[in-house]
Point group: C2
Chain length 323, copies 2
Amino acid sequence: MSAIAVPVLVIHGGAGVMDRKKMTREHEEACHVGLAQALRAGLAVLARNGTALDAVTEAVKALEDDPLFNAGRGAVFTAAGTHEMDAAIMDGNDQRAGAVAGICGPRHPILAARAVMEQSDHVFLAGEGAARFCRDIGLEHQEPAWFDTERRRAALTEELARRQKGDGDDGDGDESRKHGTVGAVALDAHGNLAAATSTGGMTAKAVGRVGDSPVIGAGTWADNTGCAVSATGHGEYFIRYAVGHEVSARVRLAGQTLEDAAAAVIQEDLAPIGGSGGLVAVDRHGNIALPFNCSGMYRGFAKLGTGTLHTGIYAGDERKVPV
Amino acid sequence: MSAIAVPVLVIHGGAGVMDRKKMTREHEEACHVGLAQALRAGLAVLARNGTALDAVTEAVKALEDDPLFNAGRGAVFTAAGTHEMDAAIMDGNDQRAGAVAGICGPRHPILAARAVMEQSDHVFLAGEGAARFCRDIGLEHQEPAWFDTERRRAALTEELARRQKGDGDDGDGDESRKHGTVGAVALDAHGNLAAATSTGGMTAKAVGRVGDSPVIGAGTWADNTGCAVSATGHGEYFIRYAVGHEVSARVRLAGQTLEDAAAAVIQEDLAPIGGSGGLVAVDRHGNIALPFNCSGMYRGFAKLGTGTLHTGIYAGDERKVPV
């Protein structure tokens, strides 16, 4: 634990049951590269003395643009063959927050969430009303087809076929292909925390389903006296356990270390009831936590000034690359 | 504090700035009667050894049917002249939860939330997808006009005119006419807690705006080891402070009494930043709290076996009536 605020960025690109034997080397490499690029985008903000809020925004924008991850371009399909994206952002300094649910249009859903926070009287906008707000303020939009990817289309076809047959999972071993989320948390040199999360939801989800990502206190949370959290996993469980706010409350009210608090929620609250997933978190001292209770979580972190980026997919496979 | 679970029910019908001089005696009387009826509906469940979950459901259904309160029939209008109702319910025993946002159709939005909890794989459904789910499972529906009331229509006309003129508030002194929420929390004889909240939102709100009511952890929360909470007020602030879960976390993690925890959140977290409103809460020992930081909150409570219902509107005007 350090008393000085050395800027830190922690990101994730989704968690789930991943069968390492079924994942191609090329896919793994591409994911490591995508995570490193997102770390660089956020770290560049922190390096020029920028805010945690801007850092998590840039990191998530990079992950949204990367079709490998389930957010923005590369978002999964709903059961109706459409995209419905959710995103949220929170500033730990003043606990301002913004969230959107069920939108398809803005190239970067995280910018939609940020605009709700900064340019509306509201915190949470959903559906057509959210879409209209995004158009009205002139956010960069893309056609629905822009978000489509072959890989997610195949996942939808497979999932719908599986449901029709009533089969178990016989996919490619990467469950995060069917759901998944991207997110980032950061501490800046001013001592402020921020969190951002963005997702396409679950493959073949019911239209209108809202997961934990845009639920402030569940998938996304930040307060300077506790910590910043971005979660990924089976969102229904993460809502029911108010995961983001619970980790912060354990740090702030119970005096637990960030690592203990995050592990307790992921391993003790969620794992026993089947709440598969993980989270990334940072506190104001720069402590970080990246627990997950499934076989893998696309993740990465970097402390400013170390010159090193850390990325990982499975447990114990952490990789170091230069900034 | 009692070690035995004597069933308790606490309800609210909205909070806000209420100018007592401008409120008619008839309106006040009708509100006391409406609150008492809702208490009776919930208490009847607890009296026959029913669950807290059923008790809060019945109390909220009664408030939804009463056009005086901003939920179900009597819901406020959006800026577009439509109704968009939100509701949530949570079972403190297993932390199951259900929520809907932006629906107009089901006569009782709280039954829509409960159906999401009990009959879907999801926790939170919004908009058209939520509406379709409610139709598919055969919930009782009403035409949009059924929810209309003269009083809410007048509030919309007035609010839109006020916005056009850029004026301050010159209404009838009852701010809860423009927003407001109904909710209930209960402890049953089995020692289980539950919370339920339902609302029409804010008069002239942007289409798609989601308030705190359906956000699990904000306007609605229940866990047996902490407490059950239903909140009412300026929802954006209640989301940013994760009000429901924060009260529970203070009880569960910091060892605060329910009264201290609820007062801290309403008076210390929210009041200084303009987060107007209040909440009702109950813990597993049957302790209750009904704090508010504005001039009034429609509220009531009853302990089983006392034969007395308590209702109130302003600070210190509590009224006792027989069950």
